[in-house]
Symmetry: C2
Subunit: 316 residues, 2 copies
């Protein structure tokens, strides 16, 4: 076994689990992933065995200098237990302890995947050098993470950055969170597709999903374009509120729906400009995230490589 300065980064989502060795300069040295195969609700250790095999493959004969993990929420990050919404087999699953047992003596840091994504984009992606940064993911849900005044903001229980539940229309649609008029209720992928269907869009292929809606929008379909414009408008309003509150200078938008590019971001910028006129907020730029599926891995590595900035609670 060879001691390595590289960090083992782990990114766990409902569809895939990825791991990588990441150097101090952010380079991905080695990377692998597996599908998050569904297992029985009581077979959490089976899923862990799959992940453990992936980790062994990635580290090879090296001992990593530390381990960072980003995982879907909810979680109790201070305890290291996870209950990812899309992984029913893990409920209060002691993921951090499992990893620590596998790599004795190595520091393991676990946090929400939205925070890992934002940290990754700030360290190596679209947020580099930003003094007021929000990284967000528009996908099945809408999540985000904040790096402001040079530090990640996590909140006491790690829930800061929940841009998806900023209120964009107090009389808007009900949200799955129980609230009303949240950004997520309007801009999450399934809500965008639902709105298009309710307003008369019929997918050619029969698949009414975000991908086919985007194809329709790209082909100039009016209702499809309006669906993305509505989501973009909601996004712009939420970002205007966030920019005023936190003096954001950069917002990076990733996730499946961000593949719509300007179809989504164009209307977002228009709404943002309507609602931010004071220079300190108006100067904020809304840009696409650039690290794609690697953002969570890169951010998880930063929990170790740059803990003074990126690990909630600070330096070692």
């Amino acid at each position: 076994m060879i001691d390595s300065p590289d960090v083992l980064a782990i990114d766990i989502g409902g569809t895939k689990m990825a791991a990588a060795l990441i150097a101090a300069d952010g380079r991905i040295e080695r990377r692998s992933q597996v599908v998050t195969a569904p297992v029985a609700a009581d077979a959490g250790d089976e899923l862990w065995a799959t992940l453990a095999a992936l980790l062994d493959e990635v580290v090879g004969d090296t001992v990593p200098g530390g381990i960072g993990v980003g995982c879907g929420g909810p979680m109790n990050w201070a305890h290291g237990d996870v209950s990812p919404l899309n992984i029913p087999a893990w409920r209060d699953y002691p993921l951090r302890r499992r990893v620590e047992e596998r790599f004795p003596g190595t520091t393991v840091r676990l946090h929400n995947d939205a925070i890992a994504m934002a940290v990754g984009e700030h360290w190596q992606g679209a947020g580099r050098g930003s003094r007021g940064f929000l990284g967000l993911v528009v996908s099945t849900g809408v999540g985000g993470g904040l790096v402001v005044d040079g530090k990640v903001i996590a909140g006491q229980s790690g829930n800061a950055g929940h841009i998806g539940h900023v209120v964009v229309d107090p009389n808007g649609p009900d949200c799955a969170c129980g609230g009303r008029g949240c950004l997520e209720a309007i801009a999450r992928g399934p809500a965008v597709v639902d709105w298009a269907v309710q307003n008369g869009w019929q997918p050619r292929s029969g698949d009414s999903d975000g991908r086919s809606l985007l194809a329709a929008a790209t082909a100039g379909h009016e209702i499809a374009l309006a669906a993305f414009a509505r989501a973009g408008h909601a996004l712009g309003v939420a970002l205007a509120s966030a920019a005023h509150l936190l003096e954001l200078d950069t917002v990076a938008v990733g996730g499946g729906l961000a593949n719509a590019g300007e179809t989504l971001l164009g209307p977002a910028r228009v709404a943002f400009a309507t609602h931010t006129k004071m220079p300190f907020a108006a100067r904020c730029e809304i840009v696409p995230a650039v690290l794609g599926g690697d953002a969570g891995l890169v951010g998880a590595a930063a929990f170790i490589h740059h803990s003074e900035q990126y690990w909630p609670g600070g330096a070692d």
Copy 2:
């Protein structure tokens, strides 16, 4: 002259200028204030002479251990120049340099009064022990400051905390900032009074100001109550957004309009509860600020006494 561990705190607003000697435990040892007498637009030094006399009176024969200043914005706090909206005689006025010249060798720290107020309430008032705190002032304008994860959040140019320009209704009234549907456009004192007058309220005395509107509400006048309820609703919506984004646990509301107490805060709590259902946000409490007119002085002292937490940029 006697060296003192006390801090000289200064709070400068459009109506009064206050100064105090404040001990390390937050006690106000000595306090004085003068009216901010209007002077000609080119007589900035005249106003300074009035302030300097006040400072001399407060320090007496002691040399303070440091000086903290909270002042109305806008300002360039890094340069120490101020241009308070309500003090036309000071435009890019080198206030920090003037204070430094008066007290050579003493550290002087100057920041926005909204941040000083929030810091004061966090250190010694309604926000004590909070891990996610917003202190806000509802008055002629609506401003605020943030202390999250144990640190004040100021933003690169010191403009973080602008809760007044969180969007509470994208189709709402135009705001003086140039935006639309901002909290401030609905909840600032003059807007609350205007709405009441437009909806048929006629003050008995002839003075249509916040004080007489509050008297009417206290007497049970329906339109007056509705005016405060509308402002409170807007406040609750804005706070719901902020609570999700920053995992706030405590919001302290001060300023002239906060004298309405439950007439304003009751409707704010109802709207907040409608829009925050996830436990991490719903647990946030909306309470009255407790330090009143002293919050800014106490916070300015904390810029020196507890710079590691309360001075943007950190410890000495």
